[in-house]
Structures are given as C-alpha cells and as structure tokens.
Symmetry: C2
Subunit: 498 residues, 2 copies
C-alpha cells in the first residue's frame, strides 16, 4: 500500500478512535453517569466531535482523497470502497460550515427542551416555534448541496446512502394498500387474547431469560454486554466490544425479551464486520435500513415466530408457571403477535408498524417542500391516523409529539424503520432458499447456521456496498415490499384464520 | 480577560476534555469492558493521548504562554497560577520527544507482561531485563532535563511538583528511627486479637455499609458512584462526576470499608476544587502526596479512630451479629489497628507502612544513580526487609515483584504514599486546633465541619499552590514528620499500653 494510503488510513483511524471514544462517553451517559456529570459530558462530547471533524475535513485529507482516487479506481476492491465512502463523507462535511453545525446543535438543544415540556403538557404549540426553527435549518442544510430531484433526497441520503425519495415513495405506495387491506381483514376476524402478557413478571428473571436467548443467538458476552438504560440501543466501541442496553417496563414485561433480540440483531451485524475494516470508513453497517433489517429479523422473523417459541415456550412456562398457567403454546404465540391499531409507534405490532412510518414520511416531505405548515401538523397527523389506522389520538402527546427525532432536527430518518422491515423479509426469503431446514433448526434452538449466513452475506461487508446494491447482490432485486407483504399475509392469515 | 488568554483557555479546555474522555475510557476498561474490547481500547487511548499532546505542545501554545506570562505576573492570582502550572507542563512535554514517549510506552507494555509472568512464577530473572530497559529509559528521560541536584529530582517532580530528593530523604531520615523504635516497643507488648476480622462476611452487606459510611462523609452520589473493579481507585470525569471503585476480598472483608473511605478521601478532594478551575490546569489536586493526605486522613485518622467506631460499632455489630459476637468496641478498635510486620505494602498497617516506602525509595535512588544493579534488587530488597521489619520474604512474589509501578516504568512515585501519611497528620493537628470538638463530632457521626474545613483550606485550591507551599500556608511549616510521629506514638501507646 502506498505511503499516501497509509497516511490516509492513519487519519481515518484516528477519526474512528475519537468516534468510538465518544460512543463510550455517550453510553456511559445513558447507563452510569450520575446527574451531576451531564454538563461537562456535553462539553467533552462537543470537543471530541469538533476534533474529529477538523481532522477529517482538513485540506490534507482532501488532497489525499483526490490523489488516491486516481490510484485506486476499482470500486470492487476494499480500497476503492473505502475511498468512495470516505469521499462522500468528506464532501458532505466540507459543504456544511462548522458555524452552521454549531447553530444547528444549539437549536437542537433548545428544541429538545421545548419538546420535553410540550410532550409533558401535551401542548404542541410550545414545541411549534422550535420545530419551525429546526425545519428552517434543515432547509438551509439542504441548500448547501447541489439541487436534487427532491430536497428530501439530501436528508434521506444521510441515513440511507444513495436512496431517493421517489424510490421510497414507490416502495411505500406498493405496500400501503396491501397492508391496509390486511389490517381490515384482521380487524374483522376473531380477536386473540394477550391478558397473560400483562401480569406481574419478575424483572430479574425476565432479564436473565433475555440473556439466555441472545446467548443462543450467538451474542458473545466476551465481546459485549447488556446494561440497563432508559431506552434500548446498540453501540459499537470496536468490532470486539459491541454493547446493548435494555429496560424493563412493568406494564409490558415481555418487551424486554424482544428488545434484547432486536438490539442483539444490531450487535451481531457490528460484531460480524470483517476485522480488517476496523478503523476504516467500512467498519460499521451500511445503512440504517439494513441495520434495522437485522434487528427486526431477530426480533420478529425469528423471535416472534412459531418455531422459536416451540423451542422456548416450555422454558418460559417453567420460569413463569403462574403467569402462564393454562396458556398453550398456540395461545402464547398468538398473544405476542396480537394486532391492534395503537397511537404509539414504538409499541406497534408488525401489522400496523409501517403505517406509522408512512404517515411520518408524508409529513416530513411536506415540511421540507413547504406544502405542510408546521402549525397544521397536529391536525394532519390526527387525520392520517384516522385514515390509516382508524383511530384518533386523544392528545398531542399520544400523537404528533410522541417521537424525539424532530426535536433534535433529525428529518429523513423515519422511513429507514419501515425499509428495515421490508429488507428483513427479502433476506428471509433468500435465507429460506439457502437453509432448507431453517424452521427445524430454530425449533431446536439452533441459530448458528442462520447467523453465519448473515455474517457471510451481510455483516462481513460492513459499509463496502451501499444498501440498494447490497440488497440487489443478495436477493437479485432492489428494496421491494412484495416479500414483506407475503410474509405478513401468511403469518396473520394463520393467526387470525383469514 | 485578553483574547490571548481566552485562546489559551480554549486550548487547555480541550486538552482537559480529551483527558477526561480518556479517564472515562480507562474507568470503563476496569469496570465494564468485556475482554474483547482491550486491544481497540488501547489504540483509542493512545490516539486521545497523542491528540492532547499535539494540542498542548503546539508552537502556538508556546507563544501564548510566553506572551501571557508577561501580562499576568502575579503568582497569587488564578491566572498567574494557571500559567505557572501550564508552563511547567509545557516545558516538560516539549523536552521529551514524542518518539521517546512512544518507545517508553512500548517498553512499558512489554515489561508489564513480563512482570505479570515473573510475579506468577515468583522469578525475578524473567522481569530483570525489562526492568533494566525501563531504568535505562528513565535515565534517558532524566537527561532531557537540565542537570538537577540529583537525577532522581527530575522523576520526583513529575509526581510531587517542586519537591527535591534531599528534602524527602531528610523527612524520611527524621522519621525512620522513631518509627523503628515504636515498632520495636509494639512487638514487645501484649498482642491484640483480630480473628473476628477474618470470618465470613456477606459481600452485599459490607458494600452497603461502605456506601453508608461515605455518604455520611459527604460523598454525593449525584456527583459520583462506587463500582466494583479489580483494584480500588478514584477517577475524575469533571468536578461534578468523580467516581470511585472498590473490591471485596473474602479473606479480608472489612478492607472494603477502609478502601471506600480511602477513595472517598481522594474523591472529596476532586469534588471540592473550585468550579471555576474546571477545564484549566488547576482543576485537580496539587500532588500525589497531598492527594494521599486526604485519602489517608479519611481512611486512618477518621476511619480507624476510636470516636469513629464509637459511632459506627453498634451498627456494624447489628449488621454482623454472629461475626462480632462477644467482641467489644475496644477489642474491635484494637483489631482493626493491629500492628504486624508483613511482606505486602498494600496490606501494611499504619505503623509499618512507611517502612515499605523508605525501602523502595532507597532502591529507586540506587537504580537511578547507578549504585544498585538491577540484578541485585531481590537480595537488597530482602536485606532491607530484615533490617526494617525483621522479616524475610520467602519469595520474589512476596518481595521485589509485588508492586506494579516499576513494570510500567514509574519511578519516583512511591515516596508520595509516605509523604501523604505525614501530611495527613500535619493537617490533622491544625484541624484539631480549629475544630475543638472534632472528636465529639466524629463520635456523633458528623463529618460536615471537617469536610468543609478541608474544602476551604485544601480542596478548593486545586493545583493553585504547589504541595510544599500549600502545606506551609496551612500548617506554618513544610512537610515534616514530627506530627505523624506524635500521632502514631499516641495512638499505639493507647492500643498497646506502651
């Protein structure tokens, strides 16, 4: 490798180190930090971010990238991929002035505080001027970039490299009518019971059970750990230290199991990236949607499947004999898959989840292209909830104010959740062709063949391929909702006898 | 404040942020990190250290310091003190080339591994060549600095700013004969029992008891926390997030209580530094000895005192009724203060501890000035143990190999432990003049007046005064062992009826 490439790798390696250090600080903030530590921690994170930014956007880096792209032209090589990803990030970072980044950070902090208050009081008008400011900044951000087909493209690209608004719209347009008619059929069918899920479960026993499951999935506790935090998340400190967090909600005790599987899915992705990508721009998953495809696969396609509970039901019944007294495997399986339109996205079941996302995407696009005024958001939100799910949020807190994302100016993120669901089903069809007895393996509590398939076909590449290219490479088609519709239809036809 | 001073503060602020970030990473490494995380964590810490070094030793910083020292000449002002401390650190950092620092780090890593093996096999010869290399590097380090009265001065100054080898020798020379004769008298007196300290104690109950004690000392769990780690230590992430670690040794269960008090003493120092020194070179304690004076005060002068146990004994007896069955307060107090010459420094009682330090200081000076050959260390160690404590280590593991310090090339550190003991007694005499009923307060479990005295006279200054100046300012004399001799003599005369 050339001296120039080595110098380039030295810089991106240091940038990676700083980023991982910041991740440790962020994790500690959520998991351990005493309240007093908050102010200084914010300052420390700002300093690390500034230093990483300065290192990465230096003129030297620009020159290196320009020179190296002439030497390494084959996009199929690791070097080619590293340079492609680094150049894109460099170009983005150079277009956005540091003063703008600082202005956005300050606005986000204020908007977050306003959002907390607004949500607490269930009063959108408190949040409205801050969201208006955030959206104004987002529009200014878009203006730093060359004109795109749609201004929302610029935002989407930050989370889903290469993805266009038109593509997402088309994917969702294909999905929407099918998901709506499936929901209608379910609503007219005989409902399932899930009362046993809302009894009192011992927190420690649930926690231990969650770790038993993810250990079987192959989460290596020598290269990670699960800690308590206000919200479940996965965070990467290196390819050999990938941690997850979880929580216990007494009102929804088994959610801890599914959150563990979800975050474990993210973690397995990061733990499976080729070790040689460490400290390069390829070291992490390729996009939020592909990441979410992994978490949703382990949570839903595996963890909410019948074969999975054929294996684990005897054990959970033994662990919680009184709570599950008189509950059969079939009843349990139906209960954890109960469909019920509800106000809160994060609590939504598989059949309704994507509807929440489509709603948000439409609002975001409207905010960005100016066709929706911020002050009208609550009303439009509630209208769409009626259209898509047939329910009307009784308050802003249960409606337009429920998500944190807009408070920190993050617009363009939501659709990746639904895309993740969609990709998970596409991969699942491919996997079931390659692993003929997958259901039988899961029934036996064997997950290693599945995990190794994912490592070999998805994880090991890290960010080498952009999301659409990766999905194409694996499944032969771009992101497309057909497999997901087949999956949902089959699953719920069985459960609801459609 | 001038623009130049603001720019200077910006840089040292960022250097402080990076240092604190590194502290979080180091803490996590000891407390949480799964084994897989080690390699990348080392790399991340190296990167942070390199960046902080680059920022702090830049030519810009040199120019700023030169210019600012002309503007802020009064050493009594905060600005004057900040510039004094920063200039000294800058000068040191600039004298030592980065390549040398890297060479030393690599040698230390290798020496540490050799030390672990040597200690495990109790075979000094395995460690010898690595220690020789470390000492050679230490000599080269000394040569980067202008000639001092003694080459060891350069090393000592890194831990105890401004302190000279001759001063430490004199302090120790005054102390040694008195401590030796006290030890002799104790050995000839009727011995005390401590069998009840070595029974089985419940770990969680001991842990809770330790937190009850330090909460009473005034350790604020909103600005800190105690976690389990292989070794007890204190670490500072900001003036409002100062954490301690502790451990439980089944063979020595009550050690957890005294370790908590010890680390709490360090933490109260850091928590008490003036908030306006945050992110400046004054933000931490002034030296290792003064730091140790705080930890030893809370551990020994408070925590191993009779009034302290007058307050806490009823509660510990209630918590551990069977273990302390038939044990009186007096017997308990004598037991926790039992004197017994032993091989291992960290387990040594107050009456023997300093002897371990004097031995090490003599060996270190000999290594640095060349009067002691590394190969002869085990023999000289054992001879001195016979001279000072009347016992002969049966193995290198229980002798010359017991401490980690030399393995990472740290020479010059040890004497600060004994100086800390000495300073703690000097402060204690002053405190007892200022707080007439201190004993009565402690008997009632009241520690706030003591803590506030320490904050007002020691803590709040952070690094504003160098150690000798601070001790002089508070006690009217420089560091001197007379108070410590008085304290030891009084305490052990009572316990052993001398």
């Amino acid at each position: 490798m050339s001296d120039k490439f080595n110098r380039f790798k030295e810089i991106v390696g240091e940038v990676s180190d700083i980023g991982h250090a910041a991740s440790v600080l962020g994790w500690d903030q959520q998991v351990n930090m005493p309240p007093g530590g908050g102010e200084a921690r914010g300052q420390q994170l700002a300093t690390l971010s500034k230093i990483a930014q300065e290192k990465f956007t230096s003129d030297e880096m620009g020159q290196l990238l320009e020179d190296l792209q002439k030497d390494y032209t084959d996009p199929e090589t690791d070097e080619g991929a590293i340079l492609r990803v680094a150049s894109r990030a460099y170009d983005k970072a150079r277009r956005v002035p540091p003063e703008f980044v600082a202005e956005q950070a300050i606005a986000a902090t204020k908007a977050f505080e306003a959002w907390v208050e607004a949500k607490g009081k269930s009063d959108f008008s408190i949040f409205q001027p801050f969201l208006e400011k955030n959206v104004e900044l987002v529009k200014r951000y878009v203006a730093f970039f060359p004109p795109a087909d749609h201004p929302y493209d610029v935002l989407l690209d930050d989370y889903e490299p290469g993805m266009k608004t038109a593509e997402v719209k088309e994917i969702f347009n294909n999905l929407r009518p099918k998901q709506v008619s499936l929901l209608k059929a379910i609503s007219e069918a005989k409902q399932v019971r899930d009362d046993f899920l809302h009894k009192k479960y011992n927190e420690q026993k649930i926690w231990n059970f969650s770790e038993k499951i993810i250990a079987k999935f192959g989460y290596d506790f020598n290269r990670g750990r699960q800690d308590k935090a206000p919200h479940p998340f996965e965070t990467t400190f290196s390819v050999n230290d990938v941690r997850i967090t979880n929580r216990f909600e007494p009102g929804n005790p088994l959610a801890t199991l599914f959150s563990a599987m979800h975050e474990c899915g993210h973690a397995l992705y990061e733990l499976g990236v080729a070790q040689e990508y460490e400290r390069t721009p390829l070291e992490s998953g390729t996009s939020l949607a592909v990441h979410e495809s992994q978490s949703r696969m382990w949570e839903n396609l595996v963890g909410r499947s019948f074969p999975f509970w054929e294996h684990f039901f005897p054990e959970i019944k033994k662990t919680f004999p009184s709570q599950l007294d008189g509950v059969s495997l079939k009843t349990f399986y139906k209960g954890i898959n109960k469909v019920e339109p509800s106000f809160i996205r994060v609590n939504a079941d598989e059949a309704t989840y994507n509807m929440h996302i489509m709603l948000r995407l439409e609002l975001e696009i409207g905010m960005v292209d100016g066709s929706i005024a911020i002050k009208d958001l609550p009303e439009i939100w509630n209208e769409k909830m009626r259209d898509y799910l047939g329910i009307t949020p009784p308050s802003d807190a249960l409606g337009v104010l429920q998500d944190i994302h807009w408070s920190y100016g993050s617009i363009g993120y939501f659709s990746t959740y639904a895309l993740g669901n969609i990709v998970s089903a596409q991969l699942w069809e491919r996997i079931n062709k390659d692993i003929k007895d997958l259901g039988e393996q899961i029934r036996k509590g064997q997950f290693s063949v599945l995990r190794e398939w994912l490592r070999e076909n998805v994880h090991k590449y890290g960010h080498k391929y952009d999301p659409q290219d990766l999905v194409q490479k694996i499944t032969g088609s771009k992101i497309d909702s057909a497999a997901y519709v087949r999956y949902l239809t089959k699953k719920y036809s069985d459960i609801y006898g459609l």
